[in-house]
Symmetry: C2
Amino acid sequence: MTLKELSDLLGLSPTTVSRALNGYPEVSEATRKRVVAAAREHGYAPNTRARSLATGRAMAIGHVIPISAKHEMVNPVFADFIAGAGEVYSRNGYDMLLSVVPDDDEDAAYRSFLTKRNVDGIILHAPTLNDPRIPLLNTLGLPYVVHGRSSDTDAPYSWVDVNNKRAFQRATDFLLDLGHRRIALVNGLEHMDFAIRRRAGYEAALTARGIPPDPTLMYAGEMTEAQGHDLTRKLLARPDPPTALLVSSMITAIGVRRGIEELGLTMGRDVSLITHDDDLSYFRNGADIPVYTATRSSVRDAGRKAAEMLIDIMQGRDTPHHIMLEADLTLGLSTGPATRLAAGTG
Amino acid sequence: MTLKELSDLLGLSPTTVSRALNGYPEVSEATRKRVVAAAREHGYAPNTRARSLATGRAMAIGHVIPISAKHEMVNPVFADFIAGAGEVYSRNGYDMLLSVVPDDDEDAAYRSFLTKRNVDGIILHAPTLNDPRIPLLNTLGLPYVVHGRSSDTDAPYSWVDVNNKRAFQRATDFLLDLGHRRIALVNGLEHMDFAIRRRAGYEAALTARGIPPDPTLMYAGEMTEAQGHDLTRKLLARPDPPTALLVSSMITAIGVRRGIEELGLTMGRDVSLITHDDDLSYFRNGADIPVYTATRSSVRDAGRKAAEMLIDIMQGRDTPHHIMLEADLTLGLSTGPATRLAAGTG
DNA sequence: CCGCTTTTCCAAAGCGCTTTGAATATCCCA
DNA sequence: TGGGATATTCAAAGCGCTTTGGAAAAGCGG
């Protein structure tokens, strides 16, 4: 069913039917009712392609999902972020276009969004230090919002981010308060902006207490379960093992825990652990006390906020273009005073 | 840059330029070269919306991501499935359109794909017993492929699925061979088709050895970490605890393991565990012996296969429209003979 | 009842591409 | 050298919608 068919059916011109459906004032309320009813009855909806050709707007928002070319790894937080964003898109009549590309030719994906004109805006994921995609998007001229920030970047851009530095500073402080002095950092890849900020928070907390950060206690890499495990085994095998670990991902934390328990140690007693928790639906803590003490911030909520911001920008609304989310520090069972392990080994 | 501008630039008609770029034979090789070079130089790519309006093909494939309205849960395997499918789409010039909707009005999303004509085909996720979406899609007339199957459905449809029944039958058999007799099944929601088939495999293996399936050992629910944990605690607190658990998801298995170890028991010695492993990138086992004995089948690979099948169908190629993937049974550290626990409790 | 404004509707152009049908240029061989 | 076949190119229509500019209908005060 096309607009023409529907208008023939109603004995009206396509113009009138179009206006009636799009809520223009130049059509009487009576005919509008009639048109809307007929459209519903015959299941008419305008052909997206024709409409967006005529209007110049694609009514779609693009996401580029980079796949680590080396490790074929897909970031597990994407699913929840996209769930949040998608919710907002649906409510506002936008489609979500996903482009899955190896992370070494992401640029092409953005350019193609522009040349093919199939999206009106873009969400940029997983920004790195001085991310080259930001100047690229600025030259392309497509509205976009970054999920995260990019340190050392001059160019202006809109973003939604968690206060990663403060979160990890607070977490480290908390561990220090518990008496821990050797605290390991198990972080994401070091060119990732969130990892940089988390490290900054961690180092700031240590330095504030006069403890020089120990590079051998700091790890940066892919956040898989296996990495968490292997690394923990290595760290705890040292003559001077850390008494606490600060971890950047729930999935890595699970591996860390496995490593701890394989050694017959108990998390929260022998070794403390704080993890960042993106509040992924399938890892959500039950009603009782959380297993992991965590810096928690819902990535799904970030998705919603980023989507809303982007839509605002595309509609020219002059909203604040930065949203800083504060992570909760939620107390769980994985942390405890450092004394016991210190006593055990000392 | 539009086609017209490019053709003016070249002193050719839009027709010729279009044909040159689309590889039609009615254009001399010399001009084709010239056109292609100019297009590349000026960064010309046809406007998707105009092109698909003219051709009638959207060059996009739709996925509906249902969010459990009750639990706000997003299926963690989606990310990897989509990564696999997206890879194939990119290679073939298709876009991926995602529609995130609460799972109680999914139908509307499919209908809207049709009326808005913004996709050429659909991938159907997470089919249930006698899934109503299959007849719906058959009436809509859009090509589609189901990731999974739908038991008790008469209507024909194309699918890519894992042989869930055989996988769980083999896994159960393996546990039986190890001497286990009380084997718990921790399954997904019972209206999900994969859960039904896995249970069928589990029951078939038991029955074949004359062991009547015990309904109190069979659980069906959301596959979260917390559920796995809570359930395990309950099961192991029974006077007649199971000596082994067969679990439908890696994430649940992690919770199960937590439950086991909280009781001071050791997985693989005191309690055995086999899980289904979708080979998600961030849970991938390292090079050494896997932690979990598992029925393993890459969901990313399933995504690739489903995408290829759908594209074949859309192009009218008469390929086989069913692909049954066999899961590996990979031996890990989480399984062992039943004797010890039996000795301990008996 | 007339001339004016306001309301309501419509014809036609145009968005940027593909594709049909026709026109022109080129070729080959008698 | 001419005429038919073949290789190139092009003009124009059309995909289904929105939107400009205008026409017809209705309302209104004098």
